[in-house]
């Protein structure tokens, strides 16, 4: 049963990812990206990362996707009925990407990955919080500075020049 759910989620994620890169209508791509992001959040739960699954839904689906749809709406005229966009050189690009995938696949199969025994954690959020405040305090503060810089930068960039 759980296997069927897992493969259904994988199929949903990869299928909508294909739609994201192949569909010629930009808004359809954005909606397909929604399903991809939800599928990845579900895969996070299979990986016992419940907190990150929540973060994924809140930030990606609630923030980034809305930003992307804003971008689509702001960069097309209302009179343009079909918000479409074309792809170029799909053949060459597809072959190059298949080559990359082949190399990645061979690498995955041939590398002896380090694996250790694992037990299901009783809590993940508490350990993430402890790590953020102990071992990763400096990166945490740098991240907040980065967010502030991006906030000011985005406002300055998109303000109408006098």
């Amino acid at each position: 049963m759980i296997d069927a759910v897992f493969w259904f989620i994988v199929l949903l994620t990869l299928g909508s990812a294909v739609t994201v890169v192949l569909n010629q209508k930009l808004l359809y791509s954005a909606i397909a990206l929604l399903f991809t992001l939800f599928g990845i959040a579900a895969l996070y739960i299979f990986l016992w990362a419940d907190f990150l699954a929540g973060v994924q839904v809140v930030i990606y689906v609630g923030g980034i996707l809305v930003l992307i749809i804003f971008g689509i709406m702001l960069t097309n005229r209302i009179s343009t009925v079909n918000i479409s966009h074309t792809s170029v050189q799909r053949g060459i690009g597809g072959m190059a990407v298949l080559g990359v995938l082949l190399i990645l696949g061979i690498m995955i199969l041939n590398t002896p990955w380090h694996q250790a025994d694992y037990v299901e954690p009783t809590q993940t959020t508490a350990s993430i919080g402890t790590l953020l405040m102990m071992d990763y305090l400096l990166p945490f503060e740098v991240a907040s500075l980065l967010l502030l810089a991006a906030l000011i930068g985005a406002v300055t960039l998109s303000r109408r020049a006098e």
Partner: protein
């Protein structure tokens, strides 16, 4: 189903799709969507290694930082794209070649 290689292959396919989007799409926003797919596949790898490497929580921290960076990148990139649209009246990345009009 519950093996490291399964997740690595899913992430590899997702990465290839994102790369395909980045190199074949001509619309700036669509290129951004490809980049999001690539970042997500990297996150999937981080969490898979975290689980199968003995439930190491450092992988979760790295995934969290990748998500923060993706949010920052999306905000700044969209501001730039909107500026390009204002100046060039197109966001076709092939048409935007001059540094000034």
């Amino acid at each position: 189903m519950d093996s490291l290689n399964t997740y690595l292959f899913i992430a590899a396919i997702l990465f290839s799709l994102g790369l395909f989007g980045v190199i074949t799409r001509r619309n700036g926003v669509a290129v951004l969507m490809g980049i999001e797919l690539i970042l997500n596949s990297a996150n999937l790898n981080f969490l898979a290694f975290a689980k199968f490497g003995g439930m190491n929580m450092s992988g979760h921290i790295f995934a969290l930082f990748v998500i923060i960076m993706a949010a920052v990148e999306a905000a700044v990139a969209l501001a730039i794209i909107i500026n390009i649209f204002k100046n060039f009246h197109t966001i076709n990345v092939d048409d935007v070649q001059g540094l000034r009009q």
